[in-house]
């Protein structure tokens, strides 16, 4: 590929003054002969992008988290302005711990909270509703007709008599289960929100709103008053807050990864250097996101972790090489250039593999995932500069601690199985570990490993077959089950009628026709069918309201509970109907289906019935469209995710197989690399079943990253192993060589990646925690797969074969063929020489 990449292995230990600065590839000369320029350039970029990065905002845009291309979502977005009830609203429940709401102090507190909420920016004030608002009325049927008034009378004075009056009014208000809980121990302030703050005309800042709500909560919550807040705005607020916490975890991940690195190298300055360069990579990535007009969302905020971890592992590789070269007597500058020569292409190849893992995510039609893919691709791209260029340049100035350099060479010999009675314990361990891993190239051990793997595969497939689509736990799926928000949601579900899992079918009619009998009778039929589903708690619609309205118009006699086929009577209902059931010009009905949960089976049953009904009954008069509401969106997401998961598997494995083929030019190599990955995928699905995690949006990146990054280990190990075989080594010898050369890198990569993602487990955002667990599992399991299964497979695949030299090289290998396109081979050759 690049004939300029001359490896002068004879120059492995040249005196520095003998080094020819004009040797090496074009890129190498470009980088190392203008080191100051490179540094100045990087400094400038860092300043520019660093400034950009400080401008980067946190956002949890609703639309970016949903599959906007799915017909359900298209329908929803097309009619969004007409879907009043799905608008953004908050429900603030003010509960009393002892006694009941019929208490002067409680009602006073409620009034104060009501007034404070009223003043929050972005509140649609005329529609705010609580016991204290004039819109909350009671109605009673009397001999004279209807009687009514505000629930809290105008002359309320807190006396026992007026409290009794309030009690009576609540009873006849019809608000029990709506504004007032059935046990009379809490009541709700319903707070509809505008999309924009009317004072500034800026989009509503959910983070700020959420903080103001928390202030109100803190202010009024007491021994006897408890406050529960639910609503989309609060979820977003909590997500943004969660993202800020995630930033703290980043610091933690950096600290741990640095510690791991230091424990590995025992060289503080170069450890800090690697960490610093990785952080610079992260900084550039963040700056570029801002430059390209992106925000950080709850998914893309995870990318810096990955970029950092990948950066660390590549940086460590560089450092490792430089350290060995310095340890074997080179000057830092020469050592760095030498290492650069060996590793630049390998590094790029590995980063390209990673980029593939990210790039396949672009096929998923969900904004946040695309942004994640873009952010990650950017991150990997900047790593090429920050960790493959900037880091070596800096290393060439700073060098490494001589002691550490000397140790790295000694370390190597330990790995090779030399005697070393004065070794420290941490040095003994890897040695024993390597010997242990090397066992797997022997028939007995290989057979055992493969048998266990086969057993695991069968077990994993059986368990994994129970894998469910969608989110399985109650409450807002974004947040943890025991989060404040989900506890509040549970409180609402326990005390108030409406479920938090709402599926909405939209019914499009001609203007002013939404209350026609012909339309409503169809709606009634649909809701009747849906109500018979076990997963449906209840429904609400204009049809239902019209039925109850007939009861109301006839003095409350239950016998009138039917949809009367009379357009005039039905039209009259509209005047008193809540706006969430129909739009302004009466051309769109919202049919609300309240679900028991948002499990995939429940959603599927509703989608199935509603879709069939829509297909059978839609005509010019009424067009039934799926779907809005959080459950409608979730149903669409499930459908998209299910499809995407399979797509993802094919794409990522396709990419990996092709990359492995390109790298190894051997189908046996492909098999040895890919089979362990597949076992990991199967085991990951089983783990998901065991942990109760369903396939959801957040799982898609896990699949892509787990496999796409996971293949790195196999690449490292197998490249050297194959090379060894091509030199006529036995499988065991070749594997020992691979362990010596790249085994530690594999371990280090596995550890830093796992550490990077494992800190997500503490995230208050549930899907981040799920991603953290699964990715950490996949990274570690893939690492073990590469170190145990791969040699076992190699034993059977390559045991009796003597490999032909690489196809690209016609000349004898021993002559260190210069045309070899495989950078790893160069590495191998140099290292072997340094050992000689």
């Amino acid at each position: 590929m690049n004939s300029a990449n001359n490896i002068d292995t004879g120059a492995a230990k040249p005196p520095p003054e003998a080094f020819d600065p004009h040797s090496g590839s074009f890129i190498e000369r470009l980088v190392f002969n203008q080191r100051r320029l490179v540094l100045a350039f990087c400094l400038l970029i860092s300043l520019g992008l660093g400034w950009q990065a400080t401008q980067l905002g946190l956002n949890a845009s609703f639309e970016k988290m949903i599959p906007t291309g799915h017909p359900f979502i298209t329908n929803f977005l097309a009619n969004r302005s007409s879907l009043a009830g799905l608008g953004n609203s908050l429900r603030v429940a003010v509960g009393v711990k002892q006694g009941s709401i019929y208490d002067q102090q409680y009602l006073q507190t409620l009034q104060q909270i009501n007034d404070e909420l009223y003043l929050l920016p972005g509140v649609d004030r005329p529609y705010l509703k609580s016991l204290w608002t004039p819109s909350t009325r009671w109605i009673a049927v009397t001999e004279e007709g209807m009687d009514g008034g505000t629930v809290i009378p105008g002359d309320f004075d807190g006396s026992a008599a007026s409290l009794e009056q309030v009690r009576l009014n609540v009873q006849r208000s019809g608000e029990i289960g709506q504004l007032v809980s059935a046990n009379f121990r809490s009541s709700i302030v319903y707070v509809p929100l505008l999309d924009r703050d009317p004072r500034t005309d800026e989009p509503l800042d959910y983070g700020q709103l959420s903080r103001q709500l928390e202030q109100i909560r803190t202010k009024y919550q007491s021994d006897n008053i408890e406050i529960h807040i639910t609503g989309f705005a609060k979820i977003v607020g909590d997500l943004i807050e969660g993202m800020q916490q995630v930033l703290v975890f980043f610091v933690l991940a950096v600290a741990i990864a640095t510690a791991v690195l230091f424990a590995y190298t025992r060289c503080l300055r170069s450890s800090l250097l690697v960490m610093g360069c990785s952080l610079i990579g992260v900084l550039w990535q963040l700056g570029m996101l801002q430059l390209f007009g992106f925000d950080l969302n709850p998914y893309s905020i995870l990318v810096p972790f990955l970029v950092f971890a990948i950066g660390i592992s590549h940086g460590a590789q560089k450092m490792n090489g430089v350290m060995r070269d310095i340890g074997s007597g080179m000057a830092p500058y020469v050592a760095t250039r030498n290492t650069f020569r060996r590793l630049f292409r390998t590094g790029i190849a590995a980063l390209i593999t990673d980029a593939f893992g990210f790039a396949v995510l672009l096929v998923i039609d969900i904004g946040v995932i695309r942004e994640l893919a873009i952010a990650a691709s950017l991150g990997v791209a900047v790593l090429i500069i920050s960790n493959l260029v900037l880091l070596p340049v800096l290393l060439s100035y700073i060098g490494v601690t001589p002691k550490a350099a000397a140790r790295s060479v000694q370390h190597d010999s330990v790995g090779a199985g030399d005697d070393g009675s004065d070794r420290e314990i941490h040095q003994v361990l890897p040695g024993r570990l390597w010997k242990f891993f090397a066992l797997f190239t022997e028939r007995k051990w290989a057979l055992t490993a493969l048998t266990v793997a086969a057993g695991l595969a069968v077990f994993g497939s059986v368990v994994g077959s129970r894998l469910q689509i969608g989110d399985l736990e109650p409450g807002a799926p974004e947040l943890r089950a025991d989060s404040r928000y989900n506890l509040d949601t549970a409180f609402m579900a326990d005390n108030y009628a409406a479920s938090s899992d709402i599926f909405v079918v939209m019914v499009k009619t001609a203007v002013d026709s939404c209350t026609h009998y012909s339309v409503l009778s169809k709606v009634r039929e649909l809701t009747g069918q849906l109500e018979r589903l076990p997963g449906v708690e209840s429904t609400n619609s204009m049809a239902r309201l019209s039925r109850y309205a007939m009861v109301g118009y006839n003095e409350g006699n239950f016998k009138w509970l039917e949809l009367i086929p009379n357009n005039a009577a039905l039209g009259a209902v509209q005047a008193r109907a809540p706006r969430e059931l129909f739009n302004a010009d009466c051309s769109l009905l919202s049919v609300y289906v309240y679900l028991k949960d948002h499990k995939a089976a429940t959603l599927n049953s509703v989608v199935e019935v509603a879709q069939k009904f829509a297909a059978d009954n839609s005509d010019d008069e009424a067009r039934f469209m799926l779907a809005a509401g959080n459950s409608g969106i979730e149903a669409a997401t499930n459908i998209v995710v299910k499809k995407a998961m399979n797509q993802m598997m094919y794409l990522v494995y396709g990419a990996v197989i092709i990359l492995c083929w390109i790298t190894f030019r051997s189908w046996r190599g492909v098999v040895a690399a890919v089979l362990p990955l597949m076992l990991t995928s199967v085991m990951c699905q089983a783990l998901m079943v065991k942990l109760g995690i369903g396939v959801k949006v957040a799982i898609l990146p896990v699949i892509a990253l787990g496999v796409g990054i996971g293949v790195d280990y196999a690449l490292y190990v197998l490249s050297v192993l194959l090379m060894g075989l091509r030199f006529g080594m036995t499988v065991t010898q070749a594997y020992q060589l691979a362990l010596r050369q790249t085994g530690r890198i594999v371990m280090l990569t596995g550890a830093t990646l796992a550490v990077g993602v494992a800190t997500w487990v503490f995230s208050p955002i549930r899907f981040q925690a799920d991603m953290g667990i699964l990715l950490a599992f996949m990274f570690l399991f893939n690492m073990l797969g590469a170190l145990i299964l791969l040699p076992a497979l190699a034993h059977f695949l390559f045991g009796s074969t003597v490999l032909a030299p690489p196809i690209s090289s016609s000349a004898p290998v021993q002559e260190h063929n210069n045309n070899d396109s495989d950078g790893l081979k160069s590495q191998f050759l140099t290292e072997e020489n340094s050992h000689a």
Binding site: E555, L561, P565, N566
Partner: protein
């Protein structure tokens, strides 16, 4: 429907009027086709959830219990309300009331002017009338009687309106004779067990067209109660109903005759009146409840059980007036009947339920006529 149209034709032929025969034929054609109203054309869906849906009426058919409600639900229970089976119903309209005159013969009325009949104790039901046919019948009747312009206009309007007026109750005295009635003074009479129906609107002194909610019979006197204090009395075996003075302006939701011949009417805001002189005078009984009373039923021991919309069950004790039956969940009750084993079976917006009545009442009922 076929039975019905034939019977109408028979009536018309008996009338010997060619014009009416033609009228009859023309609407027979309509009746044979689908009505275009799902509630009339589609049978009720049979599902396990039906027992939890809105149930509006419950009645005894011998030992058996029959309950009816929304979406054409008809439920049977042969174990005194412990378990219910849903029965195929020819319509899916809300059914408002069910009555049996003996263990085999029963009728159900409902929305869309529906009348269903059974002759096998509720196992199978046939539609005898719907609102479309009822309107046609009325027009034919007005034309036959040579009614005035206003009556004709009203009848034509009824046809134009479609089947939007529900039957709210019924009263059968035996397997042949009965009335079905409901919204806006809509009332029809049969003397052949529902084979044919005569519009009876012109026989009722209800010029405002107020809703008719109940009918009861004692000592040959028929009494109807309805909207806005409506009380209508017939002393000629139902040939004519005359308005009588009402003790109340609010609506009555029902009327029941006690075994001793007294009438009890009940309705809005806990109002309940008793008359022992065929409606000439009424005495209000205080039930200490402000909510609407939706139904009443005689217990086997001769006491009266009244249910309210907010879920209270009240039993009258001769001297102390009405007392609530304690500790029942608050269900929006629509109807009540006593099962053969003495329990109270209630129809509510949240399904049909069975309550064992407290000790004394249950003992009373055990010694009552039901067990004999």
């Amino acid at each position: 429907m076929v039975v019905f149209s034939n019977s109408i034709l028979r009536n018309r032929l008996a009338g010997g009027c060619l014009l009416l025969l033609m009228a009859g034929q023309s609407w027979t054609a309509v009746a044979g086709a689908e009505t275009g109203f799902t509630a009339l054309d589609k049978p009720a869906q049979i599902t396990a959830q039906s027992v939890h849906k809105t149930i509006l009426s419950v009645a005894r058919a011998g030992q058996r219990l029959v309950a009816v409600g929304e979406e054409g639900i008809i439920l049977l229970s042969d174990d005194n309300g412990q378990h219910w089976n849903q029965i195929v119903s020819p319509v899916s309209a809300a059914l408002t009331e069910v009555q049996f005159v003996d263990p085999r013969h029963g009728w159900i009325v409902g929305h869309y002017g529906v009348v269903l009949a059974t002759t096998d104790g509720g196992e199978s039901w046939q539609k005898q009338l719907d609102g479309i046919q009822a309107a046609q019948l009325l027009l034919a009747d007005v034309q036959l009687r040579g009614g005035d312009e206003r009556e004709l206009r009203e009848a034509r309007r009824l046809i134009d309106d479609g089947p939007d007026k529900p039957f709210l109750n019924l009263h059968f005295t035996d397997a042949l004779n009965g009335f079905v009635f409901g919204a806006y003074n809509l009332i029809y009479r049969t003397q052949d067990g529902g084979q044919s129906w005569q519009p009876w609107l012109s026989r009722v002194d209800n010029p405002m067209g107020l809703h008719l909610y109940g009918m009861a019979e004692a000592d040959g006197v028929l009494m109807m109660a309805g909207e806005q204090g409506t009380l209508l009395r017939s002393t000629d075996a139902g040939e004519h109903f005359e308005a009588i003075d009402s003790p109340y302006d609010g609506s009555f939701f029902g009327i029941i005759a006690e075994p001793d011949g007294a009438f009890v009417v009940y309705g809005l805001r806990g109002h309940l009146f008793r008359s022992v002189d065929n409606g000439d005078s009424w005495t209000q009984l205080d039930i200490r409840e402000e909510v609407a009373l939706s139904a009443a039923s005689m217990l086997a021991d001769g006491r009266l059980l009244v249910v309210s919309q907010s879920g209270t069950l009240l039993v009258n004790r001769n001297d102390t007036g009405f007392v609530p039956v304690a500790d029942l969940p608050a269900l929006p009750l629509a109807d009540v009947v006593q099962s053969a084993d003495g329990a109270a079976i209630v129809a509510s917006l949240a399904g049909v339920h069975r309550f064992d009545l407290p000790g004394r009442i249950a003992r009373d009922s055990a010694s009552g006529s039901v067990k004999e």
